[in-house]
């Protein structure tokens, strides 16, 4: 998919340039963009280092464990099918907290552990359980207090106030999360009925 998109952008661009007589400028734009990518990378490095450094401190202070205990009851409401005391709930809440804090590197292994635990409880090993589907939908909603990558990109692009999008992002994320969870809960009933009939 991404191969096709990239090829269309690049080859399509040059073909259009041929017809619009912009071949020279377009070739120049290709070199300019490649050069800009490296400048951008350099600009991003400092902010990334600062943020990932802070995040490591948060991780070592055990922030994930502290907060995950607080949201476990909420998860039991969303996942009533899971047996109480299942390690899946713990792993899922730790994964969600790591995502909210922006600890991407810590979040993935926790999420994979949660998937492993959910698979143990899954009666059909070849098809994801409803709990897995809901967990993945929550996971892909990207709940995050501070969208660090975006702030870094805005700062590198010379924004006067790179962090002004924090609140708008939070509002949009919550909308996306609620829509995803609602859709998953509705589709769950629909799929159960359909699969029960077959």
């Amino acid at each position: 998919m991404i191969n096709i998109i990239w090829l269309v952008l690049l080859a399509g661009g040059f073909i259009v340039a041929f017809f619009t007589g912009q071949t020279e400028q377009t070739t120049q734009a290709a070199f300019d963009s490649a050069k800009y990518a490296v400048e951008l990378g350099l600009n991003l490095t400092g902010i990334y280092c600062l943020w990932l450094g802070l995040m490591r401190v948060a991780e070592k202070a055990g922030l994930i464990r502290v907060f995950s205990r607080k949201i476990a009851p909420l998860l039991r409401l969303l996942f009533p099918d899971l047996p109480s005391g299942s390690p899946a709930v713990g792993a899922m809440s730790m994964n969600i907290i790591a995502n909210i804090l922006g600890l991407g590197n810590a979040a993935t292994p926790l999420g994979l552990k949660a998937m492993g635990e959910l698979q143990k409880l899954n009666p059909d090993k070849r098809s994801p359980s409803d709990a897995m589907c809901l967990f993945l939908v929550i996971n892909t909603a990207s709940l995050q207090i501070i969208p660090t990558t975006v702030i870094a990109l805005r700062s590198a692009a010379g924004s006067a106030d790179p962090s002004e999008i924090v609140s708008s992002t939070l509002a949009a994320t919550l909308c996306s999360l609620l829509s995803g969870v609602t859709a998953a809960l509705i589709l769950k009933r629909f799929y159960r009925r359909r699969e029960g009939r077959i």
Binding site: G41, A58, P162
Partner: protein, 178 residues
């Protein structure tokens, strides 16, 4: 109301940094060493995304400079204007669920072209932060337990992405004005 919302944006990072330092101190974390260890990861992260940035910035740069982007925007804008979405945002909306690194490249190019503090720039930033790479994440997580069937995950996930994008446009129009 809008004043409060903007204050939240402004102080979120400050509060977060103070909070992390305080809790690190309280929990007796060797804060300096921990920071250095994490900061090293910053370097590898940039090295990792640089090839993606170059590939995407170059392709989009060519596409825009040739006039093809203008053509595409003119072509689809009657449709997107019905929904109140600026057509300029579409490249990001299409790439976001597919690839995180590629959408970083697209957002960077948009911020450079339209300006980070323009309406397009702010809305694109909000869109980028409000959703994840749905297809990629679902692929990795399901792959880790050997499941190929996706049932309703993609339908629900892509619907959530779409709602996040729509909400970004609405929220940014309210907060920043179009």
């Amino acid at each position: 109301m809008i004043g409060i919302v903007q204050a939240v944006s402004r102080f979120a990072i400050t509060v977060f940094i103070i909070f992390i330092s305080a809790i690190g101190f309280y929990r007796k974390v060797p804060v300096y060493e921990a920071f250095i260890e994490g900061a090293k990861e910053g370097l590898t992260t940039v090295v990792r995304i640089l090839p993606y940035l170059t590939a995407m910035l170059t392709a989009i740069g060519v596409f825009r400079s040739s006039g093809a982007m203008e053509l595409l925007i003119q072509l689809v804008s009657p449709l997107t204007e019905l929904a109140g979405i600026p057509a300029e945002l579409l490249p990001l909306a299409f790439m976001r669920p597919l690839s995180g690194s590629a959408s970083i490249g697209i957002l960077a190019e948009m911020l450079r072209t339209y300006g980070a503090d323009s309406f397009i720039g702010r809305t694109a930033s909000t869109m980028m932060g409000s959703t994840e790479t749905t297809l990629y994440t679902a692929g990795i997580y399901l792959g880790s337990v050997g499941i190929k069937d996706t049932r309703y995950i993609l339908a629900a996930g892509l619907f959530a992405d779409f709602m996040g994008f729509a909400a970004s446009v609405v929220v940014c129009s309210i907060l920043f004005g179009s």
